[in-house]
Symmetry: C2
DNA sequence: GTGAAAGCGCTAACAC
DNA sequence: GTGTTAGCGCTTTCAC
């Protein structure tokens, strides 16, 4: 049905025999409309297939009906894994869909000096009702402050460290990493190595703390020699494995702070002819698609990323127009995904 | 800098001592502005940190300054690979960024009956300047026609089959699949199996045709028995491998129509103790991140997805406001990525 | 419970 | 080259 001219609020008002203000009341679910009037208007809306114009609404009110999801641009990687970001997008979109909001995505290079200015420009031009800031951008004060200074409602995802006057949605990185470590220890592993993630990523940093907690809980000693500093990339996982597995007394388990690095460990083990999990157990974190696609499939930690982003979007949508800035923090617990890459320690 | 009230075009006009129309001319790079005037205005813009409001602009003109990327919602998969979609997003965003456009993403379930209505609603509410429709949605007439009927400029990505009165950006699926097949044959493989993709995806269907072309070019016979009908999922790749590798005369090479399925083949081979590529060569298609993360890393076909989406976005942005609908088709050639999973046929 | 009028910030058409 | 005047399609007062 090619309606050359789109129906406007005037058309609906005329058809229903009411004023445009009443139509507006109906579309915005405002109170103080007689039931019979509402029905008349709704009939006209349906008949004309009327949809409020988002720009007009945004211009006249402060409700632009869209939010922005900002995350670190994966483009420096030749081949973005993507699952992480995609799940965030899915969650945010789910909340948007039911509320009839739209989602703008805005990947930005964390290292780019002017990302803060870029975001401010976006805010001024487009006036989003809120922003969701994903890790690791969510723990960069320059970015966070830039957004906050505009007054745009902001939810930080996994900022690594809560801030009293901000709102954040996180997962229990430290606790679940401890649990994974205890799980490995419970399989009899005594030398459990850890490949740490990029320093800039605080939430990933918490996983190292959790690893140490887990060792302690299991009565194992922490040793710097069993920690390799990776940078979240596959290559750094391979480098870590190369180093760790060429020790005279090599670890029987390696826990990597993300799945890309864990995949690197598995690749190196395969090349060296080390059986996984027979001779070496490997665990990752994030449960990206790679985890289930490789052989052996990866024991990992699954964060409820979609649920977290959905919650973030929901908070922004519900609190939209609230006078006071958002404060608080929520924790969405992650869970262990035991798959094929972990097993009892070798004799 | 917390500017409580944002600068408007009036503020700039006042400061520069010109009319708002002149400011508008400057921000829109229209001709007929004296150089000295332009400079005055630009100085005022910089000083006030003025950004045109996107909603006001959209309302007053037909130029909303944003486009929509529509693709099949990956949510039915527990763990979306994502690389494919992410690369499309990256490409579209690149074009948007330089032109100061924004990108709205809209995943939609292909099977959902009302996706067409949903897109029409989005168009009416938000008035995007154009839409990019990714495969496999790009080959579904109901969706394509619904968008086209609104008059919104549309670019189809890999529709599988060109349509004379549409615009599309595709890759040479058939030709490159033939090339991959010839490459495998050149390694001495005589029994090259093929795991086909989902029927709804025409571009993926073209890969089967290319496989047949390649066999013919290499003087090999096509046999239905060497083709397994997958559905693009890891599980279907495993199912295909199970079937093909349990033949008495098993194939020495398996070419899967996407990487997820190829990863499934490699998993099954590993479980069965079949060496890759020693006893079995495996090739995929798409070059998603999994391809480089598994061991052995996957020989595959890399499509210039980002470049294709960038081109699509650029066409929409450049032709925005054009009176005649977009027509034409462009081909972006894909390339073979030879990695570890393919090698000479066993004796 | 409903409506009239003003105006959000910009661009369009036309005047000068 | 530049300015004036009308809207774009809504929401917001505030009157009734």
């Amino acid at each position: 049905m090619n309606t050359s001219r789109k129906a406007t609020i005037d058309d609906v008002a005329r058809m229903a025999g009411v004023s445009i203000k009443t139509v507006s009341r109906v579309t915005n679910r405002e109170p103080n409309v007689r039931e019979s009037t509402r029905e008349k208007v709704e009939a006209a809306i349906a008949k004309l297939n009327y949809r409020p114009n988002i720009s007009a609404r945004s211009l006249a009110s402060l409700r632009s009906h869209f939010i922005v999801l900002v995350y670190d641009d994966p483009s420096p990687y030749e081949n973005p894994s993507g699952g992480y970001i995609l799940r965030l997008q899915q969650g945010a979109l789910r909340a948007c869909g039911t509320a009839n909001y739209e989602l703008l995505i805005h990947p930005g290079r964390a290292r780019k000096r002017d990302l803060a200015a870029e975001l401010q420009s976006l805010i001024e031009r487009a006036r989003p009702e809120g922003m969701i800031l994903a890790a690791p951008l969510s723990n960069m004060p320059s970015i966070v402050d830039a957004i906050a200074s505009t007054g745009t409602p902001l939810v930080q995802l996994s900022p690594g460290k809560d801030s009293a006057n901000r709102y954040s949605v996180s997962t229990n990185d430290r606790e679940i990493s401890a649990e994974m470590t205890r799980y490995l220890a419970s399989l009899g592993h005594q030398r459990i190595a850890f490949i740490a993630g990029h320093r800039s990523h605080k939430a990933v940093g918490n996983r190292l703390l959790g690893y140490q907690d887990g060792l302690r809980d299991s009565g194992l000693n922490f040793s710097e020699r069993l920690v390799f500093a990776g940078d979240n990339s596959l290559a750094s996982g391979e480098a870590g494995a190369d180093k760790l597995l060429n020790r005279k007394r090599r670890p029987t388990a390696i826990f990597a702070a993300n799945d890309d690095m864990a995949a690197g460990v598995i690749r190196v083990a395969a090349r060296m002819g080390i059986e996984v999990p027979g001779q070496l157990s490997v665990a990752g974190c994030d449960d990206i698609s790679v985890a289930s696609h490789i052989f052996p499939s990866l024991t990992t930690i699954r964060q409820p990323l979609a649920a977290m982003a959905e919650r973030a979007a929901l908070v922004l949508i519900e609190e939209s127009g609230a006078s006071s800035p958002l404060r608080g923090s929520e924790i969405f617990p992650a869970s262990l995904k035991i798959r094929e890459s972990t097993g009892p320690a070798p004799e």
